[in-house]
Symmetry: D2
Amino acid sequence: MGACAFDSAILGGLYHDPEISPLFTDSAEIRAMMLVEAALAEAQAEAGLIPPEAAAAIARAAHEVQIDPAALAAETAANGVPVPALVAAFRKAMQAPEHAQYLHWGATTQDIMDTGLTLRLRRMLEIMETRLNRLLARLADLAEAHAEQPLAARSYGQAATPTSFGAVVAGWGGPLLRHRDRLAEMRPRLLAVSLGGASGNLSVMQGKGPELRARLARRLGLHDPGANWHTSRDRVVELAAWTTALSASIAKIGEDLILLTQTGISELRLGGTGGSSTMPQKQNPVAPSVLVALARFTVALNAAVQGAALHRQQRDGAAWFTEWLSLPQICLACARSLAIAGDTVAGLTPDPARMAAGLEGDGLGLIHAEALSFALAAHMPRPEAQAAVKALCAEARQSATPLPRLAAERWPDLGLDHTLTPQAQLGTAPEEARAFARAARG
Amino acid sequence: MGACAFDSAILGGLYHDPEISPLFTDSAEIRAMMLVEAALAEAQAEAGLIPPEAAAAIARAAHEVQIDPAALAAETAANGVPVPALVAAFRKAMQAPEHAQYLHWGATTQDIMDTGLTLRLRRMLEIMETRLNRLLARLADLAEAHAEQPLAARSYGQAATPTSFGAVVAGWGGPLLRHRDRLAEMRPRLLAVSLGGASGNLSVMQGKGPELRARLARRLGLHDPGANWHTSRDRVVELAAWTTALSASIAKIGEDLILLTQTGISELRLGGTGGSSTMPQKQNPVAPSVLVALARFTVALNAAVQGAALHRQQRDGAAWFTEWLSLPQICLACARSLAIAGDTVAGLTPDPARMAAGLEGDGLGLIHAEALSFALAAHMPRPEAQAAVKALCAEARQSATPLPRLAAERWPDLGLDHTLTPQAQLGTAPEEARAFARAARG
Amino acid sequence: MGACAFDSAILGGLYHDPEISPLFTDSAEIRAMMLVEAALAEAQAEAGLIPPEAAAAIARAAHEVQIDPAALAAETAANGVPVPALVAAFRKAMQAPEHAQYLHWGATTQDIMDTGLTLRLRRMLEIMETRLNRLLARLADLAEAHAEQPLAARSYGQAATPTSFGAVVAGWGGPLLRHRDRLAEMRPRLLAVSLGGASGNLSVMQGKGPELRARLARRLGLHDPGANWHTSRDRVVELAAWTTALSASIAKIGEDLILLTQTGISELRLGGTGGSSTMPQKQNPVAPSVLVALARFTVALNAAVQGAALHRQQRDGAAWFTEWLSLPQICLACARSLAIAGDTVAGLTPDPARMAAGLEGDGLGLIHAEALSFALAAHMPRPEAQAAVKALCAEARQSATPLPRLAAERWPDLGLDHTLTPQAQLGTAPEEARAFARAARG
Amino acid sequence: MGACAFDSAILGGLYHDPEISPLFTDSAEIRAMMLVEAALAEAQAEAGLIPPEAAAAIARAAHEVQIDPAALAAETAANGVPVPALVAAFRKAMQAPEHAQYLHWGATTQDIMDTGLTLRLRRMLEIMETRLNRLLARLADLAEAHAEQPLAARSYGQAATPTSFGAVVAGWGGPLLRHRDRLAEMRPRLLAVSLGGASGNLSVMQGKGPELRARLARRLGLHDPGANWHTSRDRVVELAAWTTALSASIAKIGEDLILLTQTGISELRLGGTGGSSTMPQKQNPVAPSVLVALARFTVALNAAVQGAALHRQQRDGAAWFTEWLSLPQICLACARSLAIAGDTVAGLTPDPARMAAGLEGDGLGLIHAEALSFALAAHMPRPEAQAAVKALCAEARQSATPLPRLAAERWPDLGLDHTLTPQAQLGTAPEEARAFARAARG
């Protein structure tokens, strides 16, 4: 237990994200903020607010100057926010005070930090989308390949009726399809430049505030929100909600994998399992457990971000700092979930023999009770059929005789041999599996 | 403190919702489920699965039969879910076993409950949308009316720079505009029929599962999701996330109102305030406090719903019951927030004199520091200007002399009398207020 | 899904608490507040602050007067709090203005509400303690009766090594023993009278504030906290934390029961199970699922109460109202958990044959791997032993031959027949079960 | 926004904890686990389970061997837990296979990790206790020094009645006194060794399990819990609950400081404030804002830890990993809160003139309404008095005349000049302040 699993060297193989973690570092934050300052200066030069040479010098420096994060610590500790220290260090490093004075012209800390964050989130969403598509593709393959593989559906842990493994996989993937749609809807809202100045009204921009915001957006490839959003945290909240829901949908897969790989169930095999320090035989479903943990952690942190939307007045340090403490780890947890789930799904192997055994339940074949009740309902009132089946289930339990055999003896003329098979009861499962596969690839 | 504020008679004036509460009652739930059973029977008759007379009898009974919720309690306690008891009571009340046997044909509890809930949520969203539009309309009026009314923007509770009250109101309303968009996006996803049968594959529907689901959707005016969603809880999760974010956005207004009505600030007056049991003078911002409380409560409950998306296998009683405990109160809290906010915003009266006093800050007019620094920056390097202003602020504090007066003495030629006024520093605030008003009405 | 499961008639058999629910009703709240007003008046008469006849009249009326909760609604909606309306209604009902004027003398709303709540919490804790002891007694019986019953311990769902069912039960009960200790520690802190007057300093009590608080405490059988605690919400927070932790500890039992009753595992039988609306054979672990749901709900609501400890200044309506929305349901959820767990544990029946089957795992007896590795380690270096066992496990899996048989063939001289039995590997399990039983009863 | 504020170089001045952070690092975790392994080996040698020379070699190596955290990453990624890799690396580094084989004899990963964590938590609690005492001492000084300093108590942000600043400080400190008591109660429960072996029953310890656990506890200076607690997470839960409640109690101070330093209120001055990147005058209450953010973050994470108490069967990777993700940051947040609060309180300076102004409210002195009503109640029935005062308050507002002046004119004979002063209305406030100071120091 280091402070933060995502930065732990020991736990790095599970929690460190080689693509996303670099986006959430001190240096990535500094670089992003400098790029925002550069784009702002250039936009201001275009708009005639600051000298073009100053903008050029600032833009050049933004790419060249190296700012040591630790050098900002003392001043940041006093101010709570890093921008005053960054601006001072940036100006000093430029060694051209005549240009440097135009750095951060009329902007406020939150403009720079929120826009810098948005740049990093843009890249993050690209990576997440790629991973989501990859996960969907692997689920699609799995659903299609096993569209007709029967296994026992389970409700409350109890065998319910037969279904197909492909349909189970489609059930995992359905929410992910919708999360992909939600991402598309969220993106233009989220990826918006923030530029408001001290209190959001760009008062020192000489009437060119809206023009500047539009120019800045264009330069950075972000959307122009058309208004100040310093205190309108719904964008951040939506991102946290999306990542949380996505992590939770993935963790449902994790829960199912833990259950399906239990000793005595063993209907699925994982590509990789974990060992114990003392039990040589152990094959622990580590990755699925991590998926669940990441989601539980994310759900908790999400509450902090949601609560931070109660952002007081024109800037609320307490609420804003709460976002900083929470949002990066929500993002990292979701990114890890996507990556781990992709690998895990790729390694899954269903065990048809064990699935067949699972359909037998505790050897009693009670899973066929519903089908039997409907077979009987063609010949007697349904409540009567249900009562008869319920009684036969009890007899099966008491006599340790399979329900299908008892039923075939009781109603020899109904052709129950054909009805009370898993294959006869798959219903829409195979087609649902294939339809998901098509949608996931489409 | 009754068990549930939303049902408390004492607290009813604040927490009871005369429009939404009836949707979350035992009888509303029963009625909705019966309508689903009726529509299912009719769809099945159309599809040739059950006799048309049976469907007609079921549909008729669904409107006529009265089921006493308490009569379902004992059996529901055993089963955890009310549908077995409801189906039994419904069948019995029909007094026509030959038809009644076709009730709930091939459906499972979750089909009926989730679809019944969806019907109620549809009505709820209509009401919420109306309230949201009403709230936006009132915010639009307020923003427009006070688009140019100066007041002190505050960050960290400290006077920052001048802005307009209309812009503050626009800041309240901006997230609500986007929540309105999100509602439009969410609605077709959320309002989907659930029909899967025992394990989601409609296995006893004789191959007509998809047709049936489509027919049922059409009859109920819901969407056909094209797949089973028993265990895909992302729809419910999205609703909880949307209501939570909406409640939080509204509570931000509440927080601001509490702050702006503080004794000694008093820049706003509320239409209604609360009294104390012992202090005759008290005018407590009750409604704003309720908005904040509802949001904090909702944020917490939302975590339960998000976590319930870790829904194990083909039905997870624990996860599903968690939704039941949480979701209705999230909905009620959001609905109350919308209603209370609408009333509260309608009653707001800004106090221009107090806003003017607020702009004076502690009598020192330090709020003009940024504007002064930019005025000076036209005549000296900006860091020098900022340092000069910082020093002058210290002098103002020490000598208890207003900053604008000190500045005018120091730099008599800069026309600071015109610069260092609130009106001169409103920037985009008035237009932002008006733009919001247009968007809110659009 | 009614607004509140605890008040739902349909769900009442599971969620309604006939002992605790009456404590969280409008009328219970009113009665408790009236008793506090009565005791305050009597204490003030004793201290010479108000006329004894007035106190007597108030005390008499507190027992006789009936206040209709709904009649307080309108005024409560304006004030946010019910006490101004209650005091007015109480005074009016007394029909003795000369006495009634001394009602609520120098007290504030929060004094009356918090003390009234505390009276109800006192009763609640008595009931909870009784239930906790009953649950512990049943766990003690179970642990003792099955102290030596072997079953497969499971980690990550995988068979680990043998242990005894009694030890599993002791593991359920251990946290409950400590929660009992924590209750004893919490009680004197929590059950403290609140009396501070308008702002906490009892300024109108003519210097007799501390005396009065002590007298009030004595009369109500509560502790005198020695200070005002209007804004010190740590007591309420501690109660919420205790109930949450207790609910969660109980829900761990629920989780285990769901897992141990799974079809294909079936090592335990529940006394009562739930049926399905369509699957005649279903025996759903309803009660365990409810335990998990109640805990997940409680964990979420607890966050609201914890956050409400950020109680601003001398009274924070938003924070206080958040407590009202959350605390009663936390209490009810915990109370239900205790009751349901008590019943559920009483109905548990282990199935020795299925436990034996569970020890066989997937027929391979890999559960004996650790014991084998230690048996070998007496004859070879332990890493070598572990590697040999790991290889043999792989061989067992590949050849579908039980590990003990392979081991006995490989090392015929080690007496592994005696070592590789569940009974030989119970270790401290039986004694741990019995020690728990003693402690639970002690 | 780095991944983790506690490890950020930029934000380090606020969030990095030079004393506590080193306890939550990879190397601290490895070292602690090695010390546990060493103590276990020594205890086992004492008990005759392993050769004394082996124990000595292990103990020596535990102090000498350096294990590179990154070298454990790959194997840890496979296993989810670091102990298998650590044991392998430790054994290899010992270069004495004959001794190294006795390392980790009969223990399981959780024994080593939980006990290692407990060792670090012990140190953490010592540091936290020191900080808590320091914070209490500073609050004591402040309460005592300003025991009689009047200021306006505020409820709902509205001036209520006068109280003293010392009493406000005592209100901050009261919960901390109780948290100190709770720490004393929690400590012996929390600081318990964990030793259970594979499934908790120490089955390979040749009947010496309990003896070994006691010996291990003695060697490490921890308590012997007398039972296995692998799956009994109530200890961890209690720690999380305590730190959460403590952080929240501290954040209440933060909230009050933000409010009391608002421009226009300014009744308190902070020792250190933060500047803005664009507003030269800004003096932002940064530290108080950080306190609030840390508490909101902690409250959220606490929910993850509470939920992880639903720990399935004999080891639940998902639940356990959730603890790892959450607990360290809860601890760090609380530790930072204690440190920052200590510094912040030390720097507080009340401004008597501004407090006097605050007592005047909006110049109307309505804060004296309650005192006036009680002064009048000596001469007329109290409801009449209250109504008269309420009317006079309205008159004061309308005529913009101070209430005390209006009252003195209306009732010239009541000596209201002496009654309607802040000093006359302090009640128990001064003594409450002093009593707190005594308790805090005691």
